[in-house]
Amino acid sequence: MKNPASFELPRHLQPLLKKAQNLEKITIVYLISVIVLMYLVMGSSQAMKTAWLEDALSTLPAISFLIASTIFNRKPNSEFPYGYHRVFSIAFLAGALALFAMGCFLAIDSSLSLIKAEHPTIGSYNIFGSQIWMGWVMIAALVYSALPPVYLGYKKLPIAKKLHNKILYTDADTQKADYLTAFAAMAGIIGVGLGFWWADATAALFISFSVLKDGYSNLKNAIKDLMDRHPVHVESSEKDELVEELKNFVISWNWVSDVKVRFREHGEVYFGEVMVIAQPNTDIPHEIEKGLKALSNYHWKIYDVVIMPVKELPKHP
């Protein structure tokens, strides 16, 4: 087994983590400015309220990533003998749950506002002596809330894939699509301006469903990870072929006659067992020591492995 020193990402990934942390800090500062601005102009528009809550929620992945990224590489100790990698999975679950719950609330709230036929009153501002309809100010705020996240999302996405980090990936992926919700809210405001009172609540409902959809799929993923499913790629949720490759690598050792492997994700890295049937007359402890060393150099994601000599491989898949 690997020396349980504190976990270090491979050298080529360390600057990426630093970069991701910086991007998330920028994201948080920017989002706070959006939240304040939107709150000041939101008035009685349901679409603005929904978009505002969505922006407030979107700080959660960034915050949980930043907190988790200071914890995940602590040394294993007697209380946490497997280390702290799973903090990422737990942060992911917490964020997903919040998103899902808020999506439910927003969908109900917006539906009620539509059923009650709430006509949103949108007044005006007096800026430097000229009157301007607040709807335009709202739209300007929405433009400010829509464009920078697209850029931030595109910056974070490739880093998240390389780090195999699901919170970062989810954060980037939702931000990249965030302009859609802002556009929906804009359409709602313009609709109200054209005299269609229902446009506001309809836009809000659309935004709620997009929050709900993200929340549901993240929640599903987070729970599956914590259920120790086979490791998957962050972007496609398809099985990571690394596990199969590792199996083929082990079977290529000449003292091994058959092998079965089992891995699970702990945040960014994989933990698992390799069960082997050794050839007769093998110096098993010696070969296992050698094997563990080979596996620890195999891929940075293959982090904590046990090699177990058995007489018969377990039947289950």
Binding site: E118, H119, P120, T121, I122, G123, S124, N126, G129, Q131, W133, G135, W136, I139, V143, L147, V150, I190, V192, G193, L194, G195, F196, W197
Partner: protein, 147 residues
């Protein structure tokens, strides 16, 4: 220019032209147009010195405000007196377009009626919710008298 930039550019121009043409906002229930074509029906809750009613005679600071607003916009005004809850009901049914009577910006009717900007840092006029074209004209007058 990338496709996205182009979309934003078109959107921006769309906003700008709409802003200049000033056709937005419109009333879902046509309160402003009805006031222009027929008359502006104003519900009055007697509350001196803002509003007072003596022998069908309407006086008070808010009555004057509405009369001046109407003169400026060439509207006929029809004042009708009633109690608060009746008038709010009529406001919700779009039977009256404005309710006056010294209402505070923290009025209990906040959920049932739309509030204008304050004309003196404290008092507001009540409108049907969502009648944003009427509202923008009223507020335009409020800004003017506060200049």
């Amino acid at each position: 220019m990338s496709r996205r930039k182009l979309v934003y550019f078109i959107l921006f121009n769309f906003l700008l032209t709409s802003l200049v043409s000033c056709k937005i906002p419109k009333d879902p229930q046509n309160s402003w147009n009805k006031a222009k074509e027929n008359e502006l029906i104003v519900g009055v809750v007697a509350n001196p010195p803002f509003t007072a009613v003596t022998n069908e005679n309407f006086t008070g600071s808010e009555i004057e405000l509405i009369r001046n607003f109407a003169r400026e916009n060439h509207l006929k005004v029809n004042f009708i007196e009633d109690n608060e809850s009746n008038l709010i009901k009529k406001l919700q049914d779009y039977k009256v377009s404005v309710v006056i009577g010294g209402f505070d910006k923290k009025s209990v009717w906040k959920d049932k009626a739309g509030l204008s900007k304050t004309y003196d840092d404290k008092h507001v006029l009540l409108l049907p919710k969502g009648e944003n074209e009427l509202l923008i004209h009223l507020e335009s007058y409020i800004y003017k008298i506060n200049k």
